[in-house]
C-alpha cells in the first residue's frame, strides 16, 4: 500500500476487469467484477397500484446473500449488510427515477406493471454494491415486457409469440462507485476487493450517471470525511461511470446483434471453455544459495541421540507403562537443539526427551522446534530434487 500498489497489482483508481453477459431470457444479466459475481433477473407482473400513486408502476428490489457467495453469509437472516445493500440499490434506482414508471400503467388505478428486480450474489470478492448496481441497470436495460392491448374494458396481455415485447423506457443509467478509506482518510482506493474491505476504515458510495448527475451519495463505516475528499471522489466517480456506461452499452449491442443473427446466446454460451490445451509448469526462483551450508551447520552442531531401548515398567499389577509423562513446558526456556532423524515422528521425539528428562527443564518446546526444523529440511530437500 505504501508504494501505491495494491494486493493484486492495481493502481489506486483502477477497477477490476468487468464482464457483462446476458442470459437467454430477456432481463437476465450476469456481472463479473474481478472474482465478484452477481446475477440479476428482472420480471414483471400486473398488480393493483398503490393508492397514493394510481397511475405509476411499481419497482421492487430484492437482494439475496446466500452462503454460496461467502461463508460469512448466513441463510435466511437479514443481516445489516443486506439491509444496507438493499436500501442503497433502492435509493440509487428508485429515487433517481431512472425508469419511466408512468409508462408502466395499464389501467389507471386498477392495473399497473410491477417490475421486480432480483439480485443474487454468487461470489463475494469485495465491492458487492458496484457489481449489484451494474447488474441491476444492465438487466433493466435488457428486459422486455409483454405487450398489452386495451379494447374498452378488456385488457389483453400478448405473449412473446403474438407480439414483440417492449423494452422499458430508461432515462439514464445510475452506476454506483465505491471508495474505501484507510488510515483515517489518508489513503483512498476505488473498488476494494474482499481483503481490502475487511481492513478498511470506511466506505463512500457515489451513484452517478453519464450526464454527471449525482444520484446518491452514502458514507458508511464511521470515518470522518473532509469536504475536499468528497469532491475528489465525485470527480473520479464521473470518469469511472462514463467508462462503465460505455461498457454496458457495448454489451447490450453485442447481445442484440447476436440475437438478431440467430446465434446462440445466453449464459451457457458465455462461459469460457476451460480445457487444458497446453501444460506448462511455471518455474519460480527460490533462494537456495547457502542452503547446503545451513543444512550442514544444523547437522553438525547437534548431538546424536543415545541409543536406547525402552523397557516397559509395571508399577502395579495389571498396569503397564512405557515411558513417562513430560515435564510442564509452559513458560520455560528451551534447551539446545536436539538432532532428529529426517523422518522422525512424534513418539520418538517424546522418548528422547524422556531420556534427558532428568534435567527438569522443558524440552518438549525445543522438540517442537526440532520437528518443525526437520520438516523444513524435508521441504528443502524436495526442492533440490
Amino acid at each position: 500500500m505504501l508504494n501505491f500498489y495494491r494486493l493484486d497489482g492495481r493502481q489506486t483508481y483502477d477497477y477490476r476487469k468487468i464482464k457483462i453477459t446476458f442470459g437467454t431470457d430477456y432481463g437476465c444479466c450476469f456481472v463479473d467484477l474481478g472474482k465478484t459475481r452477481v446475477m440479476a433477473q428482472v420480471s414483471c407482473e400486473l398488480v393493483t397500484p398503490k393508492e397514493s400513486r394510481p397511475n405509476e408502476g411499481i419497482m421492487f428490489f430484492n437482494l439475496e446473500l446466500s452462503p454460496m457467495a461467502s461463508p460469512a453469509f448466513e441463510l435466511g437472516r437479514s443481516s445489516e449488510l443486506l439491509v444496507k445493500l438493499n436500501r442503497q440499490l433502492e435509493r440509487c434506482l428508485r429515487n433517481s427515477r431512472c425508469i419511466d414508471t408512468e409508462s408502466l400503467c395499464v389501467v389507471s388505478g386498477e392495473k399497473v406493471w410491477q417490475i421486480r428486480v432480483d439480485v443474487h450474489m454468487l461470489n463475494h470478492d469485495g465491492n458487492l454494491m458496484d457489481a449489484t448496481s451494474i447488474a441491476a441497470i444492465a438487466a433493466l436495460s435488457h428486459f422486455k415486457r409483454p405487450d398489452v392491448g386495451i379494447q374498452g374494458d378488456v385488457v389483453t396481455v400478448y405473449s412473446a409469440q403474438e407480439r414483440d415485447p417492449i423494452a422499458l423506457s430508461i432515462y439514464h443509467m445510475p452506476i454506483c462507485v465505491s471508495f474505501s478509506f484507510f488510515q483515517q482518510g489518508t489513503y483512498l482506493l476505488v473498488d476494494p476487493c474482499e481483503r481490502e474491505e475487511r481492513v478498511m476504515d470506511g466506505l463512500l458510495m457515489i451513484a452517478m450517471n453519464k450526464h454527471r448527475e449525482i444520484c446518491s451519495i452514502q458514507s458508511s463505516g464511521g470515518i470522518m470525511l473532509l469536504k475536499e475528499q468528497v469532491l475528489r471522489c465525485s470527480k473520479i466517480a464521473s470518469v469511472k461511470v462514463s467508462e462503465i456506461t460505455d461498457l454496458i452499452a457495448k454489451a447490450l449491442e453485442n447481445d442484440k446483434k447476436a440475437r438478431k443473427e440467430g446465434r446462440k446466446c445466453g449464459f451457457a454460451e458465455s462461459m469460457p471453455q476451460e480445457r487444458i490445451t497446453a501444460l506448462k509448469n511455471l518455474e519460480t526462483t527460490v533462494e537456495m544459495t547457502d542452503l547446503t551450508k545451513q543444512a550442514s551447520d544444523i547437522v553438525e552442531g547437534v548431538e546424536t541421540p543415545a541409543e536406547m531401548a525402552l523397557s516397559p515398567v509395571v508399577p502395579a499389577p495389571g498396569v503397564g507403562q512405557v515411558g513417562a509423562g513430560l515435564q510442564n513446558a509452559w513458560g520455560l526456556e528451551d534447551e539446545e537443539d536436539e538432532e532428529e532423524e529426517v523422518d522422525g515422528d512424534e513418539p520418538e521425539v517424546t522418548i528422547v526427551a524422556e531420556k534427558r528428562g532428568n534435567k527438569k527443564k522443558g524440552e518438549s518446546k525445543s522438540n517442537l522446534t526440532c520437528v518443525t526444523r526437520c520438516v523444513l529440511l524435508c521441504c528443502n530437500v524436495n526442492l533440490t530434487m
Partner: protein
C-alpha cells in the same frame, strides 16, 4: 408537487423563510427521569424524542462485546401518527433499520467509546411528527440526550438537510421541499469533519460543492443553537440543585 413554488421570485420559501434560514428550534433536555439522558427537540414542525441509556453492561448478545470500546446500539422508529398516512410498521422495516445503522455510525465516530470498554450505550430515537429532515432532527436530539447523560463526546454532532432548487441551496428542508434533491449531512463543527453524508435524487456534480458548503454552514448554525440550549439547561439545573 406541481404548482407549489418552492422558492419565490423574492427569495421566500413556502413557509416564509429565506433560502439559508433554519427553522425555529425549541429543545428541552432531561425530559425523562428514568433514563440516563433524554432530550426533546422541535425543528419547525418536525418533533423528535431521544433517550439514552448507558453506559451499562452488555445486554442481549454477550459475544458482541468489544474489549476496548463501548458498543453503541441505536434504534430509530417513527410513531404511527407521525406521517400523513398512518404508518403500518413503526420499526423493523428497511428504512428504519437503515436509519438506525446510520445513527449508529454517526455516533460511533463522535462518542469517546474508548473510555467504556465492554459496555453498551443505547440510543433510542422516536419521531413524533415528521415534516422533513427526519434524520437530521434525530441526530440533533440524540446529541442533546447524550450530553444530558454525561457521556463524553468529541464535539457536538449537528445535522442538517439541505436541498437544491433553482440554482439555490435551501437549508433545513421541510417535507414538501424534500421531494427534490436532498442532502443530509452530520458534522462535527469544530473540526469540520463529516460524520455522515447521505444524498438522494439527482444533482449535477458541479453543484455538489455549493450544496456541501451550504450544509456545513447550516450545521454550524445548528451547533450554535444546541450549544445555547445546553448552557441554558445547565444553568437551570445548577440553580435548582444549589451551587
Amino acid at each position: 408537487m406541481a404548482g407549489l413554488e418552492l422558492l419565490s421570485d423574492q427569495g421566500y420559501r413556502l413557509d416564509g423563510r429565506k433560502a439559508t434560514e433554519l427553522r425555529k428550534v425549541q429543545a428541552r433536555m432531561g425530559v425523562f427521569a428514568q433514563a440516563d439522558g433524554s432530550a426533546y427537540i422541535e425543528q419547525g414542525n418536525t418533533k423528535a424524542l431521544a433517550v439514552v441509556y448507558g453506559p451499562h453492561e452488555m445486554r442481549g448478545s454477550r459475544n458482541r462485546t468489544l474489549h476496548d470500546r463501548a458498543v453503541i446500539n441505536c434504534q430509530y422508529s417513527m410513531a404511527t401518527f407521525s406521517t400523513a398516512e398512518r404508518k403500518r410498521r413503526p420499526h423493523g422495516d428497511r428504512k428504519s433499520t437503515e436509519m438506525s445503522l446510520h445513527l449508529k455510525q454517526t455516533f460511533e465516530a463522535a462518542v469517546m467509546t474508548q473510555l467504556y470498554p465492554r459496555s453498551q450505550i443505547d440510543i433510542y430515537v422516536k419521531v413524533l411528527q415528521a415534516d422533513g429532515g427526519n434524520y437530521s432532527v434525530c441526530v440533533n436530539a440524540a446529541t442533546l440526550a447524550i450530553i444530558d447523560a454525561g457521556i463524553p463526546m468529541r464535539d457536538y454532532v449537528c445535522a442538517c438537510t439541505v436541498g437544491f432548487v433553482d440554482e439555490t441551496p435551501l437549508a433545513d428542508l421541510c417535507f414538501a421541499e424534500e421531494s427534490g434533491s436532498s442532502l443530509a449531512l452530520a458534522l462535527l463543527p469544530r473540526g469540520g469533519q463529516i460524520a455522515l453524508l447521505q444524498m438522494d435524487a439527482q444533482l449535477h456534480q458541479d453543484h455538489l460543492e455549493a450544496l456541501m458548503d451550504a450544509a456545513m454552514t447550516a450545521c454550524k448554525g445548528v451547533s450554535k443553537v444546541l450549544d445555547e440550549v445546553v448552557r441554558r439547561h445547565l444553568q437551570e439545573v445548577s440553580v435548582l440543585t444549589g451551587e
